[in-house]
Amino acid sequence: MRLLHNYHYAAAMLLFCIGLYTVIARRNIIKKLIGLNIMETSVFFFYISLGYLDGGIAPIRTGGADPARMVNPIPQALILTGIVVAVSVTALALSLVILLYRQYGTLDVDRLYRDEDGGTHGGPSGEDAP
């Protein structure tokens, strides 16, 4: 019964598990980044659910809104920063993905490891080899 009442937390945990599975099990790097974004969003969802009140109103003081019924505004302010940081992390990671593709010609993690061992694509370690 308590799980039914706190279904937001269960949903956030489920989404986090989906993202974690993607980051661990999928071999494509862009898929891994999508999984990382899903994980980030689920953590934000969990945090906002912590500050939510049943039947609460948005924390905006206009027209004599009752502050006692407002939801907690501090998690919202923190998560607003978190969303922007998540986009910055995604942009940096995608630029690194483009550089990796130019160097090795693949986005598959297994092939990247194999090429690093063999050095067939002439990476930074392969250029010195005769």
């Binding site: 937001h8 989906i18 862009i30 898929k31 999508i34 934000f44 969802f45 948005a58 483009i98 593709y101």
Partner: protein, 84 residues
């Protein structure tokens, strides 16, 4: 009433997350992920966080999708099959 709507949104979130993870086409996965972000923006509004809803709709569904699409066009669109 509100709980039922929240449960519908959560079911849609899980469904779009799974579809984005298991799509073979990377471009399709990214577009499904932008749908996921839009549903998450609706969910923020349900949780009485309108500023987060605005930011998620503009940044999460807009800027992130554009970044992913540019990266896919600069690299390759298909996920590589394992040939052993």
């Amino acid at each position: 009433m509100g709980t039922a709507l929240n449960l519908v949104f959560i079911a849609l979130l899980v469904a779009t997350a799974l579809l984005a993870v298991f799509a073979r086409d990377l471009l399709a996965a990214v577009i499904i992920f932008s749908v996921y972000s839009l549903i998450m923006a609706l969910m923020w509004q349900r949780l009485q966080a309108p500023d987060l809803a605005l930011t998620e709709a503009a940044v999460g569904a807009g800027v992130t999708t554009v970044l992913f699409v540019v990266t896919i066009f600069k690299t390759r669109r298909r996920e590589e099959e394992e040939k052993e």
